[in-house]
Subunit: 675 residues, 2 copies
């Protein structure tokens, strides 16, 4: 009996080649094999080509009774504009856990003379983690699933490039990961813009028609002259307190209330979206065609991942829940101040139909053949920046007890992990055992007072030579993230993402500072250069941290206090000594409270480059007053989002965008130049 | 040995139920089975769920040596706004040919005692049309593939509803057909809008930078201080007649020519697109954000299917050809009048990468289990309105000699069939044997002088009771379509799409008029009510027509004459006695001729409701002067398009759009209310 696994040991090369070259050097495993190793049968998923499959939500119903695995969230310290390698760490850790540290069952069978089922028939094991590839050949165990966000195509063609990880820690095939995937963002764009078209068209039609004419068109008589309400109309009727089911019974006053939404154009918060970095759409005027009769309006496009529908996808827990959330998204107010929803416009059902496949997470694989669920990618800025609840839930059931699900939270822990805990976990009911904080010597030096780090410009000398003092000074940033994260009741493991220029003394300083600040452990990880093998120590630390947690999850704030109290609790965790509200913010808080939305969690829209509102304030600033410029709400997704400063929701293209290098080899069909 | 086929005989019900109910009453066959019946192995396609697969273009290379089947194009008479059932006839005919008239090999095996391969080992047959499901069980032959366009999602949620056919002649699953499909239109939207963003951003960056600064950014020095051109830049250098390969060798003048595109904003013809009926985007102003520094510009959104990229997809013949066409799309002129292309902007390769999966047609099935290839759906208005060349080519190889490929051409034969012949067949090199003209008693009555037919309003009494004289008078329209179509050297079969209100005498009158006008045959077809069984006579007529054609394909005009001569040849076929050009049209013709584009075929943008430019002129108007308001060009797709009157390229939503009825049953996951 010999040991055998289908996970792939990748031969690493030094210096590390370009990401696309590493990705292309490996033949991906057919995704049905990855699925099979997770105990998924073809009924559980839909293939999208050979290397992607959508795992159907029904898996969750089927596994309802089974136990979850360990749940690990990956956050980071306050980053430089270059990013500190959270995605790469997430992938590398999973490669370590799945391909090197698969400790649960160490029996692999390649003998043809023994039947697996017979062999294991008297061994007690957790079926969720075992799989007979056939009755004779192979037994495979995966104890880990990586959960990551789907990247926006905007940055892929703009400045940043793709988001599949890097070096020897990547999701593959990286072109399929970065482009289209299984169409979820396209579905979001379509749904978002259908709603936008419905808003402007409705205002237009209302402006030219009497209540009665509107009503006649909304509830037209059939051939027998009988009118009826469509199903979605009953939602509006219920909201208006009208319990009649026959349109002919409505009084003229009820007809007016029902048929005329009377949307105040100035109140519309719903914008159109596009998954492109198109800065010229940041502010536009629409409706200038002669047929639109002067109903012009100023509005804007956001990038698709900033759509509330993306946040809904990330936070929903079932198809029925998604239908509900999409229908209750608020697009603005009526002139009398009532919130107007997608269902008021009759379009909540159609939006759900457009999103019905998007709700299923996409299964892919790492370079080393461990499974990855890619799902949702809400803006980490005006939204909560975490991948989906349903992907995490499915993954936790698939790995089962003793297995690991590693999920990434966008930006630094002050934003990503905070929203993961207070928004995502609140809606999912899940509790992580371990939170990772990714740190780099580079970023810590910046926090310690190093010169500014600017994307596209060469790094200052300070970042390339040893400077322990600078690192030690910068650890105040790391320490505050550790303290804040630990307060949720999880064990914090610091992952020091090692660069070739880092020195032993520098790395040692970070480890010391981490433990002093209360980290469960702090580990140096070289997954970028070595893949899973480089993250084995991190994997072991995470395993221990997960096995040794005893506390319940503690939120930063309860839901049943006022909006301001919640904002202030978060501000305090940033180090602020107080909060200042603009007049507009005060007005909005008052309005949302009046509209009954004050019980929602808070999703701060703040710069990721500082704990404070000032991106230049590095380290661990304190004593500042956090200014709240405005307060908005994503009612369908389920959060209030205060704006700290101005948030751009539509990136631009540089003079020489990434697309200059991207092409296709028309003989092989391979994508070239994608980074 | 008993006869057995997997094609499905659907039990028909009278009166015909709603389309979605018929579609939902049938369990679709797994698409891998449909593929297998076409001799496709899993290497030949990528699954997209259980009922869709993308057939890879490599199939075409593999089958290069094999012979084509018969090629049938479906056009129609000048339609009413209700449509005359071209799609339904296309699907119904294929169900008849595939499920009822499979005449090539009539031996089906269900005996378990005989091995198929052995049994047929000494029979000479065309392997392209045979398939052993297993060594023992079943032999299936398909002799027909339907090729149809992918519908736009705009109308699906707007007024018209879906486009999967109707009654017992449908493509299923109809929700998957109508929504997202395999993402091709989403890919087009993404590619189109990436190019649009590249245009405006380039103008912006050029406005704020010197030639040298632009050049420095376009060709930045690497770490060693060396500059290089990206591959796509060599296309521009070649166009400029610069053969240098080292950026440092360029003279300041060459640097200016290379780096500054100097786009004239007023000349930009490239618009953004969205697959939504969003009338408020028909005319907009962009660039009003403060960071865009006043570079505002008036522009518009079209519906995605009107994008030139859709026309490229429909007319391309290979991946290399698509790369070429996308790169040479002209977006406007420089201030000195030179055409500016996608490759000048450095984005042709990225556009191809976005479109690399879209080039593969999607395999689906009819209600009766015959195969369908869905691919491309260019606007039948400003573009050529036909499905893709690659789908037709693959289908012709797959059915092989004696098999049938039935492809639909949008709108009436004056537009759809004309463009099929003169544009699509010109680029593909394919020759149809038979052209179908679909006629309805309803439309013929309208052409004979019946009252106006208006969508959404009840039909006039004249259309519901017998009126042979009105039908006979209307046959002038049909007769001209027959004459025009016959002139291409194909046999014309008239398919009279039977409605329940049609009478024998009326149907008889059409048949007589058709034969008198030179039709090869004219057949009554009841495929809407009866599926394939209702189109058996039509199928037999088409078989005979295909087997008895001897002439070569004759185009309406040669390519090597002037733009005006070509326009005039087409105008003559409409019945016009002359053509009148606006000043703008004259100017554009002169410009395109000067730019070297006069050798392209012509794609008339004309109302589909009349042979003439006047939608109210029914029947067969003649002696009119056809006005050409403007002339535009799709250089990448490969045609010049004169505008006859104003063409809307962005539909709107009515007061009560289709989406009011569309929802999802959250317990079963089924789509409801889609029409």
């Amino acid at each position: 009996m010999s040991s055998s696994k289908t996970v792939r040991k990748v031969q690493v090369v030094s210096p590390v080649p370009a990401d696309i070259d590493i990705a292309n050097s490996v033949e991906p495993i057919h995704i049905s094999q990855i699925a099979q190793h997770l105990n998924l049968t073809p009924n559980h998923y839909d293939l999208y080509g050979k290397y992607k499959a959508k795992v159907l939500l029904s898996v969750l119903d089927e596994l309802q009774g089974s136990q979850d695995g360990y749940y690990v969230v990956v956050g980071g310290i306050t980053p430089t504009p270059l990013g500190e390698g959270k995605s790469t760490t997430t992938v590398g850790l999973c490669q370590a856990l799945g391909a090197y540290l698969d400790k649960k069952v160490d029996l692999f069978l390649s003998s043809t003379s023994v039947d697996c089922a017979t062999y294991f028939s008297d061994i007690e094991f957790n079926v969720g983690n075992l799989k007979f590839l056939s009755s004779k050949y192979l037994l495979i165990i995966f104890t880990v699933v990586t959960c990551v966000r789907q990247p926006s195509q905007g940055p892929t063609f703009g400045i940043k490039g793709g988001a599949a990880g890097g070096g020897y820690s990547q999701v593959i095939p990286m072109d399929e990961f970065n482009l289209h995937l299984t169409g979820d963002i396209h579905a979001i764009t379509a749904a978002n813009n259908l709603l936008a078209a419905a808003i402007d068209t409705r205002i237009f039609h209302e402006s030219t028609q009497s209540d009665k004419a509107l009503f006649n068109r909304l509830c037209p008589p059939n051939k027998e002259g009988k009118r009826s309400f469509s199903d979605v109309m009953f939602k509006r009727l219920e909201k208006l307190g009208i319990s009649k089911t026959n349109p002919d019974d409505l009084t003229p006053e009820e007809i007016g209330k029902f048929a005329r939404l009377d949307i105040d154009p100035a109140s519309i918060t719903w914008r159109r979206v596009m998954d492109i970095n198109d800065r010229f759409l940041r502010k536009i005027t629409i409706g200038q065609g002669p047929d639109e009769k002067g109903k012009v309006r100023e509005t804007a496009f956001d990038i698709s991942v900033a759509s509330e529908i993306m946040a809904v996808l990330a936070l929903t827990t079932s198809l029925a829940d998604m239908r509900e959330r999409l229908g209750k998204m608020v697009i603005g107010n009526s002139k009398s101040g009532d919130p107007v929803t997608a269902d008021d416009l009759g379009v909540g059902g159609a939006l759900t139909v457009l999103m019905k496949d998007a709700i299923n997470p996409t299964l892919m694989q790492t370079l080393e053949g461990t499974p990855v669920l890619v799902h949702a990618g809400p803006f980490a800025n005006i939204a909560h920046g975490n991948s989906s609840i349903v992907a995490d839930k499915i993954a936790l059931k698939l790995v089962g007890p003793g297995g690991y699900v590693v999920t990434e939270a966008g930006f630094g822990a002050d934003i990503g992990t905070e929203k993961f805990m207070n928004i995502k976990c609140r809606y999912s009911g899940l509790k992580p055992q371990c939170a990772i904080i990714v740190a780099t010597i580079r970023a810590l030096k910046m926090h310690g007072g190093g010169p500014a780090v600017v994307a596209g410009k060469p790094l200052d000398h300070a970042y390339l030579t040893e400077n322990v003092a600078l690192v030690e000074a910068g650890c105040v940033n790391l320490a505050r993230h550790i303290t804040n994260t630990k307060a949720y009741g999880v064990n914090v493991v610091v992952a020091i993402n090692k660069f070739s220029t880092d020195t032993e003394a520098e790395l040692h300083a970070v480890r010391n500072a981490s433990l002093a600040a209360g980290a469960y452990d702090a580990v140096i990880s070289s997954h970028h250069a070595h893949g899973g093998r480089g993250a084995v120590d991190l994997g072991i630390a995470v395993q221990k941290a997960c096995e040794n947690v005893a506390q319940p999850l503690k939120f930063l704030y309860p839901l049943d206090v006022g909006i301001k109290e919640k904002i202030e609790a978060i501000a305090k965790s940033y180090g602020a000594s107080g909060v200042e509200y603009s007049e507009q913010a005060e007005k909005q808080i008052e309005m949302y409270t009046k509209q009954g939305f004050s019980g929602l969690p808070i999703c701060m829209a703040k710069t990721q480059y500082s704990f404070s509102d000032n991106a230049a304030a590095k380290g661990a600033p304190s004593g500042f007053i956090l200014p709240i410029r405005d307060v908005r709400a994503s009612i369908g997704a389920g959060f209030i989002y205060p704006l700290v400063g101005t948030m751009s929701t539509m990136p631009g293209l540089p003079t020489r965008p990434c697309f200059y290098d991207i092409d296709i080899d028309t003989t092989t069909g391979k994508v070239i130049g994608l980074s």
